[in-house]
Symmetry: C2
Subunit: 338 residues, 2 copies
């Protein structure tokens, strides 16, 4: 790569000091009282030489890189990719650039990414935290690193966090079913202590209780993130045993929904006649399912925008106070919950 022109090159060419050039190029000619002609000449030469500032040098000087690090579970997952997209947009709007990485829900990868990003002097982090990463997050707090958790958080750690109204959303979804008279409602969720999942589960339970139905433990199946596909199949098999069929099933994520629908389809169960369905989050996959699917629609754009805004606010704040932002979701009605 050819050498880039620096402020020094311009200074030499014009025959002034680098300071002058810096002032002019940063629009500080007024405060520094730089002469008209000189200023003009500097600008002209800078343009001629096609000067581009070295942001790394500036970053070193200021201790600020205008870069944020984004750590999601898996960027190839459309859910996170969509979040990433809006984060990119909002960051750019505010003059930030985004470094990204995928944690794969694994503690060591998460820690690695955090370290890498911090060593690269990012100004802050947006993280979808991995289960069990409390200590990593606590460490960030201790170091005074600016960060925002997104999509999920921890019950026992107070941090900046931007999440969907998980409890409320699942509560409403289940209420939708109870109001139609369905009582035997099952749920399949991921087996994780992270708040997004716990809140959804609690929303489900609370809705049942409020409808006067006693929750039965066999109605709730928790599947591990790894190998969830098999486990979903097993869960459905157990939940739909002959003689004790459930009226409806709610799924805690779209990946679970897709897998569940496949199994349901394969077993010849008719939706919604034999079984009612509601999904958390949509999926393109629903497109060609024979019945349209009722789902909880998170406002991903708002989540990402709020996360970026909150992060930037924190970066610029001297006395950072933690904030919890809850973004409302909505329910999109389909035939599956009829």
């Amino acid at each position: 790569m050819k050498k880039r022109v620096s402020i020094k090159d311009i200074a030499e060419k014009v025959g002034v000091s680098t300071a002058l050039v810096s002032y002019v190029l940063n629009g500080k000619e007024r405060e520094a009282r730089v002469g008209e002609e000189i200023a003009g000449k500097v600008r002209k030469v800078a343009a001629e030489m096609n000067y581009q500032p070295n942001l790394i040098a500036r970053g070193l000087k200021f201790g600020r890189t205008n870069t944020i690090g984004l750590i999601v579970a898996d960027i190839s997952n459309p859910f996170f990719a969509t979040l990433a997209r809006s984060i990119e947009l909002e960051a750019q709007k505010n003059g930030y650039t985004v470094l990204f990485g995928s944690s794969d829900e694994q503690l060591d990868k998460s820690q690695n990414l955090i370290n890498t990003f911090l060593n690269r002097q990012v100004d802050g982090l947006i993280i979808t935290p991995v289960a069990g990463s409390q200590s990593q997050i606590e460490e960030l707090k201790k170091k005074g690193v600016k960060f925002v958790l997104m999509d999920r958080g921890f019950k026992d750690v107070e941090t900046n966090v931007v999440v969907t109204d998980n409890h409320e959303a699942m509560y409403s979804a289940v209420k939708l079913l109870t109001e139609k008279g369905y009582r035997k409602i099952g749920m399949i969720a991921y087996d994780t202590p992270l708040t997004h999942m716990q809140d959804r589960i609690q929303g489900y339970k609370d809705a049942l209780r409020n409808a006067g139905t006693r929750f039965k433990s066999e109605w709730l199946k928790k599947v591990p993130y790894l190998d969830y596909k098999e486990h979903v199949a097993d869960a459905i098999a157990q939940m739909l045993k002959k003689g004790d069929e459930l009226d409806a099933l709610v799924f805690a994520t779209n990946s679970i929904s897709v897998q569940a629908l496949k199994v349901i389809h394969a077993r010849g169960i008719k939706v919604p006649d034999d079984l009612r369905i509601i999904s958390f989050d949509e999926s393109d996959t629903f497109e060609f399912f024979y019945a349209t699917i009722t789902y909880i629609k998170q406002n991903l754009n708002e989540i990402s925008e709020k996360a970026v805004q909150l992060l930037i606010k924190n970066i610029n704040a001297t006395a950072p106070k933690t904030a919890k932002v809850i973004v409302p979701s909505s329910i999109v009605l389909g035939q599956s919950s009829k």
Copy 2:
């Protein structure tokens, strides 16, 4: 954010110069012949103080940041998100971190991202170029910037590029159909001069010719990237006019395929009985279509890995010679091409 410990802090604590610390921490104690005890002490203190190197400072010093910039059309598109994922992995394996941005197939956004990334001193770029961005790319070449085009390239600009065997892939797909006796085969593609599309179109035409069928211009519909959905619907309407039905349709991308299948489904056309279908790239959406879809499967992992490897090779090379890497694809057979 609290002040990070620097090499200087360690030096002061141990009572040596920063140079010594640098040597030890970079494993150059042998060449620098640093004393055993001192070295040990430095390491111990560094660990105690939890020293982490400032990669920005190092970058300024070396003119190398170990960062690559990734510019895709749209990170929220699963196709590009999947590429991004493997790029992230391969980059990390080689000690690189990835900055990303989406061009939205727009020239100005593409240029903006290029500038931003270069100002941040990335060591190289991986780009899915936008139609008409030849001058941007030529400019990169002139500046001596290290970069690799991915997924698509330009006919008239020689660059490093990693692409699928687009011509071959589409040729084989259409051949599959002609060998079954189908002759009236239509294609819907994006209206862009970029090589990936042109090669696919040429593969289609060549396969027809080789089967002894004269290509009719009304068999090929080119839709714009923006509003492609309506245009796909129109194209299908025109191509499937009563009395002159086509035997089969091939689609140049998965997004076109999905939209086309929706229209086909809505119009009550039976696949494969009334119409045979082959898609370029898969989509989760196919999952619940009543017939399994035959599609060309690109090797996305290999494309991304090769792109990263080629880029890094170029970054380290003094005399860079451009390379064109063609990654073989395969065809996954479904019912839709029966």
